[in-house]
Symmetry: C2
Subunit: 339 residues, 2 copies
C-alpha cells in the first residue's frame, strides 16, 4: 500500500509542517525536496496517504497536515534521532556538573531541557521507590515528639514529625535509631516497609511498643505517600509560541500541568533509560490530548531513578526532542549515579 516514495512524502510533509506551521501542498513539496517527480504524482500519493489516515486537509482547498497517526508513523519508521552538536554536549555536561546538590541538579536539568527543545520540560525527582535507604535518623524534638529523617542513596532526604502517645527517654531514642538502621539501611525502599512491619511486636516493654508502633506507622506513610511526588516544570512560556489557536487548547494543558497525578502518568511507561518513549495526541492522558510527550527514564540502565520529559504541540521537532531528552537523561543519570 505504502511504497517508499509515499513514505518519503509523508516524511517531507511532517518536516515541512513542523518548520513552517502551515499546511503543505504538493507544489511546495516538490520544490523544497527533490523528489524527482511532478506535483501531480505527489497529489496521487497524498490522496493515498489521506485515504490511510496519515494526513488530512483542514479545508477542502488547503494543503495537508499530518494526523496523529501520521506523526506516529514518522516517529516509528521515518525519523532518526538528531544528535546534539558537540558544543551542546559540552555545555550540558559542564552546566550539570556545576550543580551543588540534588535540588540544584534537578532544577538545572529541567531548565536545560526547556531551553534545548524550546518546549515545556518536566523532570521527576529520583523516585523514592527506586532508591535504597542510606541512613535513618531519629531526633527527639520534645518529650513526645520525634523527627524521622530518611536519607536515600540518591541524596534525597525525607523527614516527618511523629507525635508519640507518651514520653520517651534518650536511650530509647538511641535504641530506636539503631533498630531502624539495622533493618533498613541498604535496603530498597520498596522492601523497607515490610522489614519494619513486625518491629512493634518485638519491643521489650509496653511503652517501647506504643512508641514503635507510632514510629513505624509514620515511616510507612512516608514510604507510601511520598513515593513519587516531586515534579519540576520549566518553559511553560514556550506554550505561547506554538499556539495561534489559543485559549481553547492552552487552558486544559495548563490545568493538566498543575495536576501532579496527570504528570505522573507521563512517566508511567518510561522505566528504561536506554529507550525514549513518544506519546502523541490521544495517546496522552486527559487534558494533554492536543500535545506530544517525549519521555524517558534516567539513572543507571539497571536501576532507573525517575522520569524526565518534554511536552509540546504534536507539531514538534521529534528528532530534536528525542535527541535532547536522551542526551540529558544520560548526563543526569551519570551525575546522580556516580556522585
Amino acid at each position: 500500500m505504502l511504497d517508499d516514495r509515499k513514505l518519503e512524502v509523508l516524511r517531507a510533509i511532517v518536516e515541512d509542517y513542523v518548520s513552517t506551521q502551515e499546511p503543505v501542498g504538493s507544489k511546495a513539496l516538490v520544490e523544497r525536496h527533490n523528489l524527482g517527480v511532478s506535483p501531480a504524482t505527489i497529489r496521487n500519493d497524498m490522496a493515498a496517504l489521506e485515504e490511510e489516515g496519515y494526513i488530512a486537509q483542514p479545508h477542502t482547498s488547503a494543503g495537508r497536515v499530518p494526523t496523529d497517526k501520521g506523526y506516529r508513523l514518522f516517529v516509528d519508521r521515518l525519523s532518526s534521532v538528531k544528535p546534539l552538536s558537540s558544543p551542546e554536549r559540552r555545555a550540558i555536561q559542564t552546566f550539570l556538573e556545576g550543580a551543588a546538590d540534588l535540588d540544584d541538579v534537578v532544577l538545572r536539568t529541567v531548565k536545560l531541557l526547556a531551553q534545548l527543545t524550546r518546549q515545556v520540560a518536566v523532570v521527576q525527582y529520583p523516585s523514592l521507590s527506586r532508591s535504597s535507604v542510606r541512613h535513618v535518623e531519629v531526633v527527639k524534638l520534645a518529650h513526645t515528639r520525634l523527627l524521622l529523617v530518611l536519607i536515600t542513596d540518591t541524596g534525597r532526604v525525607e523527614q516527618r514529625v511523629v507525635e508519640l502517645p507518651g514520653p520517651v527517654s534518650d536511650a530509647a531514642v538511641a535504641d530506636l535509631r539503631a533498630t531502624l538502621n539495622a533493618h533498613m539501611t541498604g535496603r530498597p525502599l520498596t522492601d523497607a516497609g515490610a522489614l519494619i512491619l513486625a518491629l512493634p511486636q518485638q519491643a521489650d516493654s509496653a511503652e517501647d511498643r506504643s512508641v514503635m508502633t507510632a514510629v513505624v506507622a509514620s515511616m510507612l506513610e512516608t514510604l507510601v505517600e511520598r513515593f513519587e511526588d516531586r515534579i519540576v516544570l520549566a518553559g511553560t512560556a514556550n506554550l505561547t509560541r506554538s499556539a495561534y489557536d489559543f485559549p481553547f487548547t492552552l487552558r486544559p494543558v495548563l490545568e493538566a500541568l498543575e495536576e501532579q497525578v496527570t504528570l505522573l502518568k507521563l512517566f508511567g511507561e518510561a522505566v528504561d533509560p536506554s529507550r525514549v518513549s513518544v506519546r502523541i495526541g490521544e495517546e496522552n492522558p486527559e487534558g494533554l490530548t492536543t500535545t506530544a510527550v517525549v519521555s524517558t527514564a534516567y539513572g543507571a540502565q539497571s536501576r532507573p531513578l525517575a522520569g524526565l520529559a518534554v511536552l509540546g504541540p504534536t507539531r514538534m521537532d521529534y528528532p530534536g526532542a528525542i535527541g535532547a531528552v536522551g542526551a540529558v537523561a544520560r548526563y543526569v543519570g551519570q551525575i546522580l549515579v556516580e556522585g
Copy 2:
C-alpha cells in the same frame, strides 16, 4: 476637581468594567447604577475623569476603561474589602486544618487562593530568615561525610551534606551536635550565623578544628543561600480566562512566573500581616507590568513569616481579592504560629 459624584462614577466604571470586561458607556452606567442624573451629565464627568487620566477610551467611539491610575484611586479610596461569606470562612479553616505538614499547608493554601480568586496564586514558604532554630542534628553518613539537618520553629527542615577533610569519631560528632545546639537552638536564623562563627577557633585539637570549620562553613551557606527560596504557584490556567489579547501579554507573564527572582520581588514590601498591598500595572517588576498583584505577609503580627499573593490582570476584582488574600493569610498565620 473631583467631586463626590465623579468619584462615584469612577467606582461604577471600575466595577462594571471588571464584571463585563467591556468598555462602559454613559448610558449603560446610569442604567446599572442609580446615579440620579442623566447620561449627558455623566458624560461631562467622564470627560473630567479622562482629563485627569483616570480613565481612557480604547477607540474614539467606545466606552471608557479605567487606567492604572484609575484602579489605583479605586483601590485607595473607593473600595472596601469584600469579606468572605461565612461558609467560605468555614471551608477555608477546615481545609487548612486538614493539612498534614508544612508542605501540605503551603500547597493547600496556594490552591485555595487560586480557587477563591480565580487568579494565579503565589505563596512563599515561611522564610528561614524570620524563623528560629528549633533543633540542629548532625548525622554521620560515612567516615568523612556528615549530614546537617536544621529544623526551624515553623516546621521547615533544611539539610545539607558536608564533605570533611578527614575522618571523625562518633564521639566527635556527638560533641559537634551538642555544641551547635547549645549555640543555635532558640535563636533566630538571622543571628545564628554570627553565633557559630567563632566556634572553629575554640576547638580543642587540630582535627576538631578542621571538621568544625567545614561544618560551620556549610551551615553558613545554608543560612545565607536558602534564606527565602521556595515559592509555590497555582492557578496559572486562570490566566487564559482573562486574556483575549493573547500571546503578547501572556508570554512575559509566564516567563516572569518562572523566575524566582521576580516572584520574590512581589513580597518585597509585604512585611505586615495586617496590611494588604496592591501593586497595579507599571508598579510591578518587569514582565508583570500588565498585571495587578495583591499581596500580604502571613504569620504573627509581631513576626511575619513570609509572603502570599494573588496575581491577575489589572481588571481584577480588587475588593474580593483583597478580602481573600487577607483572610487566607490570617488562617495560615494562625495555623503555623500555633501548630
